[in-house]
Structure formats: C-alpha cells, structure tokens
Subunit: 418 residues, 2 copies
C-alpha cells in the first residue's frame, strides 16, 4: 500500500484544469509530479496556480511520453479531448502505470477492443473517471436497488440534457477561431457522443459486466437544427460558423437491451433551448420507481405524493459513501462527485487493486459512440453489442471491495473519503 | 346540415357506458336511437339509465347488423373491445353511415389498409375518438406549435404511463373469470398496444398526413414481470392467473422517425408500480420546450423557472376551443376531452364533412400495434411505416375547417361547443 501516489497529468483544458485544481491537487496522499499539454500558456498557468496554492511543484512537458517514461510516476490522468484518449491510456498501461480517462466515447469500436486487450495483456488497470457514478442521486438510487427496495429492475432511462451551444462548443469568445474540440465532432459525426453520465450509473444499477451485459443497441437521430440556428443568431448567417451544415442531430435516442431482459433508453440533448439541466435518471422496478425530472422516489403502495420528495429520501437512503462524504464536509466540483471519483481512482492505485470502473466497463461505455453512429447510418438497425468480457460477465465478482465499489454496498472503514 | 344526429351505439362495457352516459346522451342535437351489445344485462342497464335520466328511448339489439341496416341511423359509435373494431367500422362505412371508433390499435396491418380502402371507395368518413387530442395540455401545446412559439419542432415524446393491473385488466372482481378483454392481449401479444393517447396529439403537432408522415418504426420490449407479480400477489401463485406467463413486456419503447426529420419516442408503461398517471407529453423545438412531468412550458431565453408553470401558461395560451369550452362551463369525462372529441364527431356528421381524425389518421395510428409487434419479433429492426395516403400527405389540406379541426387553429363561430 502506497502512502502517496505520484501522478502525471495530461491535458489542461477547462475540464482538465478544474479537476486537477479542485480535486487531485487538494489530496494529501497525491503528489502532482508532472504536467503535460501542447500549450505553453496552459502549462504555466497550471504551474502558477499549484505553486501559489499548494505544495505541488510538477515539471512541465509538451511531450506526454516524458511522463510515461518517468519511472517515479504511478498513475496518469488523461484529460485531453475525446479522440486520442484510448491511445494514450493504452500507452500508459503498457508503461505499467494506472490510467484514468475523462468521460467520453471512443472514435472506433476497435479502440475499445484494443483497450481490453491491453488490460488483459498487461494486467494494469484503467478507469473512466465517470463522476456521475458518484452523484448523490445516482448513488442513492444504486443503494435502493442493491437493497432490493425497488424490486427487480426492468427498465431504465437517462440522458445528457444540457444545452451546451454557448458553454461547451462556442466557448472561447476571445478567440472564436478556436472553439471547443467538441465542435469538430458536431460538424462531422452524427452519434450518441456523450452517454456515460447516465449510462455509467445505469450500468452499475443493472450490474453490467457482473451478471448482466448489454446485448444490442439502436440509435435514432433527429434532424440537426439547434447548432446552426445558434451560430446564425450568434455570429451571423454569413459567418464561418453560420455557414456550416452540422451533421449531429439535435436529439439522439438510443435503446439498449440487456441480457437480463432490461431495456435502457438514453437521450443526447445538447443543442436545443432547454429549461433545465438534467440527467433524466429514472429507474423502473417491480416494487418502485425513481424519476429525476419529478425529483421523486416512489415505492409500491405509497400513498403520499412523491413529487419532489427526493430531499426527504436522502435522509433515509443516502448511499453510505455519500453520507460519509457529506458528514466529512468536503464539497468540491459538481456537488462532490468529482472528488469521489478521483478518490476512487487514487484508492485503487494506493491499494494496487483493479478500479471500480475498470477496463471492461470503460470499453463498453466508450463503445456506445461508434455503435450508435453505425446504427444511425443504417437507419436505426440494431447493432450487436460486443461482449468485451468474452463471457466472464456471467460470473465476475465486484471489482473493488471497498467503499468506492459500485457493484455492492460496502462500508469498509479502511479507505478514506477525504 | 342536420339538426339532429341519430346514432347507433355498439358496445356497452365500462368505457362504452361512460362515454354514452356523460357525452352523447347529454347532447341536444343527438338522438340515441339504438343500442347493441352481446349482454342483455348491459343493454337493459343502459336503457334504464337513459329512460330515467334522458328523453332517449333507443331500441335494443344483440345483433349490431340491425343498426347498420336501419336507414334512419346517421352514425355509429363502436365501443367494443380492441379486436373487431376495424371490421365493424368498415361495415358501417359500407352501409353509408359515419363511423366512430374508440381508441386502440388494429390487430393486423391489413385491417389498416382495408380501412383506408373502404374510405376511398365509399367516401364515408370514419373517426377515431382519440380524446387526448382534445386534452387541455395537448391543445395548448398544439396552439403554441401552430403559432410558432416553440420554433421548428425537432423531437417529441409521450407515453401511456398508467398502472392498469387492477383497474383495467383484473377489474371484474365480482367475477374474476371474466377479466377485461385487455388481458387476452397481454397473455398472447408483446407490442405497443395503446399508443394513441400520446401519438394522436403528437401527430397533430407534427402535421402527420398533412405535410409530414411517419416513415419508420422500431420497438423494444422489456422483460415481463409486473402482471405476473401482481397476479401472484393478488390471487396466489397457484391461481389460474398466477400461473400464466404473460407475453407482454412491462415497458415498450417505440421510436418513430418522420419525413420531416423529427423523432418521436413512445412508451407503453402499464404494469409496474407507478407514482402517477402521465402521458409524458413533451415537445422540443428550436425556440422552446414543453414537459408534462415537470408541468412546464419554456421559451428560449426565459429566465424564470419553468417548473410547474403550466397553470399560468393556460391563461395565456389556452387553445381557443378549450378556452371557449371552459367558459361554457361544460365539464364531463376526463376534464372535458371526452366531450370535445364526441362533439367533433357529431359536428362532422351534422355538416357532412370529413372528420378531424380521419381514415388516414385512424389507420396510421392503429398501425402502430402490429408494426411494433413485428419490430419486437425481429429484435428491434426498424419497420417501414406504410404511407396510407399514397403520397397525398404532401399536399393535404386540413380536413375540417371548423373549430374542432386539429390541423390549424380555427375560431369558426358557426359550430357549437356545447
């Protein structure tokens, strides 16, 4: 067991900066040893922050291979744009270091297979940092499911309902010629490009890769209107961005069927006007249901109105990890879930165990992007969902027996929440 | 223009009784001339009610052909169980009488084609009595769409979210050997069996059959658990009903794509515990959205929270027909929508016009049942949605130019709301 984990950190864009600044850099058992980015300005901005606010004093490099070749580094956090993450994750694992990747999909199915192969050949763990798996609502629902309080789960839904036109696509108004890297995806691809905020927690609810697996996926894209209309209104019809015909449909609906007979509906919803952010997280079981948009938990036979009863439910059914976290008073990044997912990774590195969102989970979740694109291109034809575990899903045990484990409720006291 | 419409009424089950009792029997320009049912008891119960409470004194017959052969009857309302409705509707049309059918699907696609053929050959109108087309929420949303206040519509969703295990399946507890006719469907079929409460209003929002049409349909059924669990708990594992393996999945998700590039998601959700009834009616446009579960209407740029703002929206955006109806103080059946859909039918008969939910609409909506069954049986493969208009959808005008028309907002004063 390591006392301190030395991490290398690759990618210091908006999200990369925030996750480091508020999470890894604030952990007493982490040393931020090295930073890599292609931009000198980003590197020095992060360095300045760390020097002024923490005791970390990482070296800087524009070539991330320097980090992979550094034998003193235990783990690498990869926060670059969507494309390229699987490649660097695999290089990291081949270098014998734990790899963490920010949420997102693979470009191709091959990358997902390669990731699993790399894990199986090296034995080095990888983890998608899917923060929403540690969201308070998602964890409470997981707690309800694992305790059987919703009965047998039959159907789930979720979505990424977030109008990101301004915030995460045309975000760089100082230099609009350099928009967010997402824009390139929206111009050239039509797919479920961001499923893991809902699919991650739903996979844990459904015991995917541990007793269950996804067997087919179908995706359907609406026409593309939102981004064009936004660009025309914001920059003008004759502007560079107003003239583009975006390929990405505004709303992408994906239906996944599971070996256990459950259905899962995912919705990508990022370019139309919206009243509110939502992950649309909803579970239907034989003894109850939960519904994010109504902020409600309902048990069969309950007579009181469940509309907006979620707050009261937290008092009774908070996941033990989240309850402990709230008690400890740590509140960083997205209501704590960023902190918890980063802790989960660090605890795995310290303990030398596999991660709670491991190579099989990461590969399966990342596969939704290319699978959905294939289905859309074939008019909604169902795609076979690959079994990345090659049959092992039927008998796999929970990956990590500690409180960060999402496969069972574990109140292990040896692992720290702070 | 007729002063009084003489109707024959076939099917006096729970729903048939209620629609007649509270709607047609209360209209001054309707004469209930004949009743048909296979049950003497039902016939005499209805007759007694009419004699005691109204001036109607219909003759009774167990053979509905008596009604079709009666030259004094103008229109026939068909309220028997799902199966058999298309057949009697077609016989009615061939007998030269307007036909109204209660909501529901056809058993087969052939019946839908036959219905259209019968309409085209006879010129006699038919109408599905889809009451939810005249629901206050649905009409307000239609009003918003027709006025362009939600921009271009891109995506819609809706569902029949209603746990009917007790109420509409095992409803006859005095004689449990005669459950609701739905039970037979749930034992033998796995399909989207009840889509029209949401698909009807959504079709009007999307101008289906008048400038737009449905082009493909894919359906996915979850495992079947709810009805079995209910039957085991209610009647015992060894009871007749507890021993059945029900074929119908608990949650059926259907995705429809439209010629205009819109996507539509329908959910059948009738057998699991639920907190609330909902038609999940939601519209996404380039300038705004509506969401039934949040009871909200949101316009792009709006700063006030839209959560539960629907009541205030009714004051501003009530559909003119519904506003007039509320003003007239008539409130019967499901908040008025039963009354309005029955009025729409009677006005069409009186005026000798086509109906606002005509043969093409009725056939298309009824086709979802068999199409979804075919898709589910083929693992979610997309089914081509037949064009029942044979190309006419591209240039069809609104069917009825009166205030009951759902294809445009019409404030025609010549037609009565009461």
């Amino acid at each position: 067991m390591k006392d301190k984990v030395r991490i290398g950190y690759i990618g210091l864009g908006k999200r990369g900066f925030a996750v480091l600044e508020k999470n890894f850099a604030m952990m007493e058992d982490v040393e931020v040893a090295a930073l890599s980015d292609l931009s000198d300005e980003r590197l020095s901005r992060m360095q300045t922050f760390l020097r002024e606010n923490t005791s970390h004093d990482p070296y800087l490099t524009k070539d991330y291979h320097d980090i992979l070749n550094d034998p003193t580094i235990d783990a690498v956090v990869i926060m670059i744009g969507w494309s390229g993450r699987p490649k660097i994750a695999m290089e990291t694992m081949r270098a014998g270091k734990y790899a963490a990747v920010e949420v997102g999909c693979a470009d191709t199915l091959d990358e997902c297979f390669e990731l699993v192969k790399t894990y199986e050949e090296t034995g080095v763990p990888v983890m998608m940092l899917e923060n929403c798996c540690y969201g308070r609502r998602e964890m409470m629902v997981l707690n309800l499911v694992k305790k059987g309080l919703l009965g047998e789960v039959v159907h789930c839904s979720g979505g990424y309902h977030h109008n990101i036109n301004e915030e995460d696509i045309y975000c760089n108004f100082e230099n609009i010629d350099i928009p967010h890297y997402r824009l390139g995806q929206y111009i050239t691809k039509n797919r479920e490009n961001y499923p893991t905020h809902e699919l991650g927690p739903l996979s844990k609810v459904l015991s995917i890769n541990r007793g269950n697996r996804m067997v087919s996926l179908s995706s359907f894209a609406s026409k593309s209107r939102g981004l064009k209309e936004y660009a025309v209104n914001r920059f003008g019809a004759d502007s560079k961005w107003g003239k583009i015909d975006y390929k990405q449909g505004d709303i992408v609906t994906t239906v996944i069927t599971c070996a256990g007979g459950e259905t899962v509906v995912l919705t990508l919803d990022t370019n139309l006007p919206r009243s509110h952010y939502s992950r649309g997280f909803s579970i239907r079981g034989t003894k109850g249901m939960t519904n994010e948009d109504r902020m409600s938990v309902y048990f069969d036979g309950q007579t009181e109105d469940s509309f907006k009863n979620e707050e009261a439910m937290y008092e009774k059914y908070d996941h033990p990890l989240h309850a402990e976290y709230v008690k400890a008073g740590v509140k960083e990044g997205h209501g704590g879930m960023d902190w918890l997912v980063c802790r989960a990774f660090i605890e795995s590195v310290k303990n030398g165990t596999n991660t709670p969102i491991d190579a099989y989970d990461t590969a399966a979740w990342m596969a939704v992007g290319p699978l959905s694109e294939m289905s859309i291109n074939k008019g909604g034809a169902p795609m076979e969902f690959p079994d990345f575990t090659n049959g092992k899903w039927q008998n796999r045990e929970p990956v990590v027996k500690c409180k960060y484990c999402l496969d069972e409720i574990c109140e292990d006291k040896s692992v720290s929440v702070v």
